[in-house]
Symmetry: C2
Subunit: 649 residues, 2 copies
């Protein structure tokens, strides 16, 4: 275990087994003892903690164990000479270290852990009989031990553990560090939570920072009276805001690729799992040479092409289902609510209606989410991140309708800016505050409830004589904490879904009605500063440590943001017409024409600007190019030699 000396390894995974009522001690057939010994055999370091109702096996891995598994998993890692290569334990010096000095990122470590503990397979030819609390069951040859134990209920859960040292550091320097308004220790967040969550916080930080400009602008508009120029101020604001949004997302893309370069993460080679055509044994060079021969390649090409178009068709069908059901089912429902709300006179009735509505949409979104999850299972998406993106688009459609159709209704019906403004304030402030409260209190309540039940049970068992019983171990507390999961379902997305959904809905709200209520940007800026802190606290204090995800961009959300920008150009033009054409007597004469022209210019800005600012900074590109060229240079000759060598054989 000399690997341990080189690098500190904390306990990072916990396995939960029930606490046994009878101590059987040295019985070798006891399944928990057996599991422990097997885990020790594969080179893991264990620590067993007994909790109130369960026992926890904390796992740590010495660097060498991880390294061997990484080599077995053929994990590709960047090397100092530029190329991404399969990890080899013997050549460990060649591989680039993480920003925090460790060899593997948290995501890679988690993958290795997973592989190790699920890799314990019965290698004997006979069934091994194991016991647990008197019950006996057989471990069949070739079956992973953990899967068997999970299905038998011996292993209750496996979850990643917080690293107390790093968690405290982050708590002090990030979540509770109120002096740095938008600056965050992104590298540390990355090494603690993985790429996807770090990307979210980087985005949130940059978004908030950029938000200060329109917030200040909006505030100025609110405070200062521009006299006779007043009528020009709003269009000017509109143009500035649109340019701001377009530029922001372009610069975000740059920042994203710069971040990836810093984290030494290259875009993964996507091996398409969706197309079942290619699972032939084409791993040897010879067969690939054969494949390039005419007839076989043509046939294969056609098969792939068919699969590709079939996939598009499926995707298209699903999108059509979702869109049509949104339009046919959700739209009438939302309109009915908005209309009823308008028609009703008594406040009590209104309140009742709203309560009923809120109750109904809870179910509505849940059903929608479930249907979407079902639908995407039929799609042949290439990877889990593609699946997640497809889900995001579908569910966002639902939320889009839900959030904005009422606003559109108000805007169109009343053509009255003041009413719209009131509704906006109501939504922005009330919903944001309420949501934040709910978001943060529900997990805490859950945790408290579970803690209470656990303690209560214990008390009940021991009789009430022992006095106060408390949760002694940290790992048990973590076990009782809720999982960081999405509200629509845990299968595809984690809690980031809800956080991003909040951000997009807020963005849509402030952008689409920017001309009606410029002050909204200030609210949003304040809200985002709060959001950063509460999200950080949520992750560090309220939830279990989330399972790391390798996704390197904000994915589908970027496209949704872009879509919202285009929408906002159209709606703001509509708003401006409403604002300036009070008597409804405009023709194609100056005003209307001017606004239409402005709309077209803005659309041009939207689609033109993205050409001016390249998505990848030049230095990132250059690094990539130089590295690739160097690596090529190095191995070119060797590969050729080995090729001709093989041929002679």
């Amino acid at each position: 275990m000399n690997g341990r000396n080189k690098e500190h390894t904390a306990f990072e995974i916990a396995i939960v087994v029930p606490r046994r009522t009878f101590k059987e001690g040295d019985d070798i057939c006891d399944s928990v003892e057996f599991l422990v010994s097997e885990l020790q055999k594969v080179g893991l370091i264990l620590e067993r903690v007994t909790g109130l109702a369960d026992e926890f096996i904390k796992l740590a891995a010495p660097l060498e164990t991880l390294g061997r598994v990484a080599a077995e998993l053929q994990i590709r890692k960047p090397t100092y000479f530029g190329m991404d290569l399969r990890f080899e334990w013997d050549e460990v010096e060649a591989f680039v270290r993480q920003p925090d000095g460790s060899l593997f990122s948290w995501c890679e470590r988690f993958r290795c852990f997973h592989h190790i503990i699920y890799g314990i397979v019965n290698r004997k030819e006979s069934v091994v009989t194991l016991k647990f609390e008197g019950k006996e069951f057989g471990w069949k040859p070739g079956e992973p031990l953990l899967t068997m134990l999970q299905s038998e209920g011996v292993v209750k859960q496996i979850f990643p553990l917080h690293d107390e040292v790093k968690r405290k550091w982050l708590l002090r320097n990030w979540a509770l560090n109120w002096r740095d308004l938008t600056r965050q220790p992104i590298d540390e967040i990355y090494s603690y939570f993985g790429t996807k969550i770090a990307t979210y916080f980087a985005f949130l930080g940059m978004y908030t920072r950029w938000m200060f400009f329109p917030a200040a602008f909006g505030l100025t508009l609110q405070l200062i009276d521009f006299g006779s120029w007043q009528f020009l101020v709003l269009p000017f604001f509109f143009i500035c805001i649109t340019s701001w949004a377009v530029l922001f997302f372009q610069f975000w893309k740059r920042k994203n690729s710069a971040l990836l370069a810093r984290w030494r993460k290259s875009y993964p080679i996507e091996v398409d799992l969706g197309y079942k055509v290619m699972d032939t044994g084409s791993s040897s060079v010879q067969s690939s040479v054969e494949l390039t021969k005419k007839s076989g390649a043509d046939k294969r090409k056609k098969a792939i092409q068919r699969a590709e178009w079939f996939g598009h068709l499926l995707r298209f069908r699903n999108d059509a289902i979702v869109i049509s059901s949104i339009i046919c089912l959700q739209l009438p429902f939302e309109l009915a609510y908005a209309h009823l709300y308008e028609v009703l006179v008594s406040d009590v009735m209104k309140f009742g209606l709203t309560a009923l509505y809120l109750f109904a949409i809870q179910y509505f979104t849940k059903i929608g989410g479930k249907v979407s999850v079902k639908l995407i299972k039929y799609e042949s998406n290439k990877s889990i991140e593609y699946r997640a993106d497809s889900l995001v688009y579908k569910v966002f459609g639902l939320y889009f309708m839900q959030s904005y159709i009422g606003l559109f209704y108000h805007a169109l019906l009343h053509r009255n800016i003041m009413t719209l403004r009131q509704v906006l304030i109501q939504r922005l402030i009330v919903s944001q505050v309420l949501q934040k409260l709910l978001e943060n209190s529900i997990p805490y309540l859950k945790y408290s409830y579970r803690k209470y039940t656990a303690v209560w049970k214990k008390k009940h068992e021991c009789g009430s004589s022992t006095g106060k019983i408390r949760l002694a171990s940290r790992v048990e507390k973590e076990y009782l904490k809720p999982i960081y999961s999405a509200s629509i379902g845990e299968e595809v997305e984690d809690g980031l879904f809800d956080d991003f959904l909040d951000l997009t809905l807020q963005f849509g709200m402030i952008m689409m009605f920017a001309c009606a209520f410029p002050l909204a940007f200030s609210f949003a800026a304040l809200n985002n500063i709060m959001e950063m802190r509460t999200d950080a606290l949520k992750l560090l204090v309220m939830f279990r440590r989330p399972v790391p995800r390798p996704a390197a961009t904000i994915g589908a959300w970027l496209n949704i943001f872009q879509f919202l920008i285009v929408m906002s150009i159209c709606t703001n033009c509509g708003l401006l017409i409403c604002l300036y054409d009070l008597e409804g007597k405009w023709r194609m004469d100056p005003g209307l024409a001017a606004i239409l022209i402005m709309e077209h210019i803005l659309l041009l800005i939207k689609f033109g600007f993205s050409r001016f600012v390249p998505e990848e900074p030049a230095w990132v590109k250059q690094n990539r190019v130089i590295n690739a060229a160097q690596a090529q240079e190095m191995c070119s000759k060797q590969i050729l030699r080995s090729f001709s060598g093989r041929k002679i054989e």
Copy 2:
């Protein structure tokens, strides 16, 4: 010269030297004889042809000579096991052959030839004295022989030669093969002319094939009266046309990448030449390892970033100059012409005005082109193709104004569809026919004139007694043919510039005024069929064989086409309003609103469709991915070994 047995090598390059009046024969100091012997020394095969006024040295290279030079040039070529590697003559079997069976593409061969003949350098330490027609001059040490001879006027020109066998084949099976309307032997065109020209013809063929649909639709609209549905027909046509255009370009991108995959051409790694920061000796692995260390990398990153933004700034300034000069200088000029043309009554005056105008714009575009070429010299563009793209954008702006501003003027002023239609017919037919005639007759006239002068001179010299003198050798005929060059300047673009410009201007004309004149598509389809043949003939018969260019896409023109689609959405909506709102009494009521909504839907189609059809077919992507993965697999371990080996040293 065993390489010659393996593969037939035709004479592909010609060097033109003046025909000497005194035969000096075996004088070793004669520079032409010296050049010939030097060329033979480097392994080229020569044939000398004496023409009327000049002597021609035809060059061919055995495969082995080319191979050695290719290895020296470190040309990267695809191998059978997927990876692009530097060419090595010893491992020639590992490299993928061209579709026509030869090892090197025409573009690679040309590059090798160029390197060979310009690589003849004086390796001695003293100046070698050479004579030519009594004149003496010194060949300094380290100076390329050919550069020196060119500057002394001994070598008049170097140009690529037609390959008579292949040329005849193409003439028979492509240019004069009238049975295949739009089908072309693209692979043969590729191996004869190189990637860029083959891509042009592939585009033209696919464009013409797709054009049949709107042509038929437009014809139907012209011929059939839809009765009471007539008013719905045009909007429907408009929607179909827009979708057609969007889909076409999306599928073209797919086709383009499929073609590249077939030609085994991977996108070249762009090593940025524009940024001067990186020309350090960072070729060794050690130095790159050092560069990744903090301080140096940061400094370098900042320098690159500065250079990047400075480049953007320069480009932006130049674009601003071009746009503002177009708006401030060209727009008033064009409007003045259009207005004067309207105001004048007498036909004679109109004719005179048009003649004057045509004369003026000749100069205008020439000046514009020259200014653009000057401007892009100040830009730090990364490669020659980037430069060409930048030029294309700038010059297209000029032509766009010139071609369409008059039409817009007519459309807006008269709001009369019939007048607009007349102007369109006039422009489409007259200008196309005239242009075609001019395009094809001018080079022929040039050629005839030069041939005539050559023969006349010869006659004059020999006295008129010898009777008829004819151009005996094919190479001399080719020498007298004009070069395939752009009308705006030979430096950056070749003749493809004019051909693409024709296509885009035509596309803009038929798309932007589609609703005014649906029949235009039929004219365009007919015209394109003609265009394919005439362009083929032009290249095969009229011009010298063009210098091959490696560019693999249609580059800037694709963006211009996309821009024209967006423009056409806007203009057609305007046209529809003009058509249906004859009395000008529309408000935001049904009609106007409907058209505006339609416009927005179409814009959505434009920017949404591109997401549905991926630009790269799945099979191309998969090939790429599998190949890359295989190659990585092969060399991963070796590279790691060699790395640790180096470290120990």
